[in-house]
Amino acid sequence: MLAKRVIPCLDVHDGQVTRGVQFGRAESGGLRNVGDPVDLAVRYDEQGADELVFFDITASAHGRASMVDVIQRVAEKCFMPLTVGGGIRTLEDMQTMLKAGADKVSINSAALVSPELIQAGAEKFGSQCIVVSIDAKRSGDRWEVFSHGGRRTTGLDAVEWAREAVSRGAGEIVLNSIDADGTKAGYDLEITRRISESVSVPVVASGGAGSLEHMAEVLLEGKADAVLAASIFHFGEHTVADVKRFLAAQQIAVRL
């Protein structure tokens, strides 16, 4: 049986893993230094992480260069799937990251600006390489897609955008709830379920994990295929192994 995945996310700023408190606060002094990305990656590898996501929160040329170095070093030591996101705007950016050792690239704002990038990436590297990351915020009974790290509204409906991304060749959707991110109050179960039921590709839930129960909830009720979390792992509250043992006890298939 296909296991549900547990994915630590490493936000990288200037070659160091950091964690902002909430969307949009990353540049305004809300950063907490967490450590060296390669050390953390190796630690999560040993704990049994199913995958690692690296996110360049500077999204600048300088940030990209240091990310290439991080990915190269991680790929020498961690033999598991690696995804890179943040500031990927062109096929060339994708190629650079894949060559460095990433297995997938995650695109967000660039896909909103030019949705053809999804197709072009899927055609060149295969759908399995192209992850579309969606930042969604609740607005009444719908969820709106935001771009540029949650700062700009697009007016798009999150479910519609997820469908379109998949029809253009996205192989996976990462759904970040802007409302839930950084609150530790749990994932947004409803939008996760709506998107998961609307698309044929795996959906990774992100934003809001504060407890082990939250992770079980979004996999069961939210119908997510994977859970992504950052602070819960970085600050030593739980190890990946803790999460998996807990999920297994709830009869959720995980790789132990």
Partner: protein
């Protein structure tokens, strides 16, 4: 020396890094020249069947790969490198002929009952053979990493080395004589994957049968 057949496959670097990590002396081959000198060969791959076959053909690697396989030395196909060993693919608009080492075609997952396609993630391998050297020391039902929408359907059941359940039970690895192939990615399957690659390089280090 282990030859890594380099036709631009997306996972080439990962496979190379993993092989080196377990101690292999790896050399990339962008053409068929000298391929026969290798002790073993690995054909990586992700993406589309036709792209793989066409790229091999363009670089004069298709015939060289077929020749290498006939030489009897250990050969490992990974993902699309596994699919390429079959006769044909039912992938959309596919018209390329595969290597035809094994009979059968490459088919898509049904996607029925809300099954997500591609299959992305960790799934279990059930050993269909107990004596396959590639899986020495790998426990039954180990989790390995898959990323694929298609899988081969071998006509000859006796070549199936492992099976995996994903809406259907498919052949997740095959073994026949010197040819080993996996639908999953050993280079991305942590400890289990590294063990499989280590087993493969051990095969390459053994003297060829009959000598």
């Amino acid at each position: 020396m282990i030859a890594l057949i380099d036709y631009g496959a997306g996972n080439l670097h990962s496979v190379e890094k993993a092989l080196r990590f377990v101690g292999a002396d790896v050399r990339r081959f962008v053409s068929g020249d000298g391929l026969e000198e290798a002790d073993a060969a690995v054909l990586p791959g992700v993406g589309a069947f036709d792209d793989c076959i066409h790229a091999l053909n363009r670089q004069a690697l298709l015939e060289a790969t077929a020749r290498f396989i006939r030489s009897g030395k250990p050969f490992l196909g990974i993902c699309v490198g596994y699919q390429a060993l079959f006769e044909r693919s039912e992938e959309f608009n596919s018209c390329a002929a595969g290597l035809g080492v094994f009979r059968g075609s490459v088919v898509r997952f049904s996607g029925k009952d809300g099954l997500k396609v591609p299959q992305i993630g960790w799934n279990q391998i059930e050993m269909a053979k107990t004596d396959c050297p590639l899986f020495r020391g790998v426990p039954d039902k180990s989790y390995v990493y898959f990323v694929h929408s298609f899988h081969p359907q071998p006509e000859d059941d006796s070549i199936v080395a492992t099976r995996t359940e994903y809406g259907e039970r498919f052949a997740s690895a095959v073994w026949h004589e010197n040819v080993y192939a996996t639908q999953f990615h050993p280079e991305k399957s942590q400890r289990v994957g590294l063990q499989i690659l280590r087993n493969f390089i051990n095969l390459a280090e053994q003297p060829p049968a009959g000598s």
